[in-house]
């Protein structure tokens, strides 16, 4: 069955007709041409599809588009506002990627981490809070350093 919904994606209202079984991830990538979130596993294990829905980090492969009707969806591509977002800057500063496939998910997740935490984060805490985002290239040292930097700047 089809449903007409509107997602507010990276600041722009996007009316779209989707099958009720469509995930937010597929709606973004296949219907709206926003390929920033990646499909690594399609079952919640890799984090590559992480986006922010109404400011909270969620796995877009595990959320139905119809359940996100009217919601504000932010992808890594929509974080930059003229200048790069501080988390994006930090990933560049610390080489927090290699192939880049996991990066949009890592960045949205990191923005979620900063939102969820209110204070200093140890390395171990950053690693724990980022544990839902896998990186097959093993860029973890750079990723953790980037999140530490962004958390430090936030304080």
């Amino acid at each position: 069955m089809d449903a007409e919904i509107t997602l507010r994606v990276d600041g722009a209202d996007q009316p779209v007709t989707v099958d009720t079984r469509t995930t937010v991830l597929d709606a973004l990538r296949e219907r709206l041409g926003n390929t920033s979130p990646k499909k690594g596993c399609d079952h919640g294990q890799c984090g590559a599809c992480t986006v922010l829905v109404d400011g909270r980090r969620v796995l877009s492969c595990l959320m139905l588009a119809v359940a996100a009707d009217g919601a504000e969806v932010t992808t890594a591509a929509g974080l930059a506002n003229g200048d790069l977002h501080p988390v994006q800057r930090a990933f560049i500063d610390h080489d927090g990627f290699q192939c880049g496939y996991c990066t949009p998910g890592q960045i949205c997740s990191a923005v979620g981490v900063l939102e969820e935490s209110d204070g200093e984060l140890s390395r171990a805490e950053v690693a724990e809070r980022m544990s839902g985002n896998l990186c097959r290239c093993g860029a973890y040292p750079g990723i953790v350093a980037a999140v530490e930097q962004a958390a430090g700047e936030q304080r």
Binding site: T20, R56, L59, G132
Partner: protein, 290 residues
Amino acid sequence: MDFFRPDSLAEALAAKAEHADAVPIAGGTDVMVELNFDHRRPAALLDLGRIVELHEHGRQDGKVRIGAAVPYARIIDELGRELPGLAMAARTVGSPQIRNRGSVGGNLGAASPAGDSHPALLAANAEVEIASIRGTRMVPVKDFYTGVKRNVLAPDELITAVHIAPATGAQQFSKVGTRNAMVIAVCAFGLALHPDQKRVGTGLGSAAPTPRPATKAEEFIATELDWESPKPLADSVLRRFGALVAEAASPIDDVRGSAAYRRHALAVLARRTLGWAWSEHLGGGRRACA
């Protein structure tokens, strides 16, 4: 596939009564995996996301009442002091993104023997609040599971909440897995001291077709513990407790571990968690995590 999105519990119950085949979806962390992999093709989904009553927690008759769809992240942040055992279990679920969405109601709905909230709910003697248009009933959690991924829900019923008495003593949760994040438990154990009732509650996970308490171990330890003038526990008592917990299991061999390994590991988890909880009781101190 039809998609129902009720705004209130009353509407949701009416929808469930009319469409018994509609699959409830809370956080979606189990349901969506089944949909994406075509393991399940429901005729309809019943989205619980908008129902405020299911996303609240509060006190009722001295107990903590947690709405079925309250995500683990909020249980950890907001209920860690009253319900330390459940909060410990919640901390081990999946990943932060999974904990932002996944709920105890969903864990109960799925009724997987590997669900991490079950051992904590069993140890704390939680009760499950179940509702339909016919009315509301309370089911002790030990009677809730009826088989592998089966529970007592009738087709027109929804889980609306769990009720748990705030902790009166130390609680522990421990699980064996290959790493910290995103693993299904090889086995898990929950333990709660109830000094007010002079007893110890237990719960086993991934150890039998359904989550279950280790009743003989509970009976044994209740006679061994001196609640009036607590003393350190003899190693032989801890070992006997561990052995009885292992006996309560009827585990299987699978890719995650053999039945023999699970039994062995459960005995170790039981012995350790009781040791930790009892030293906390003796010292009045508190161990943060297993």
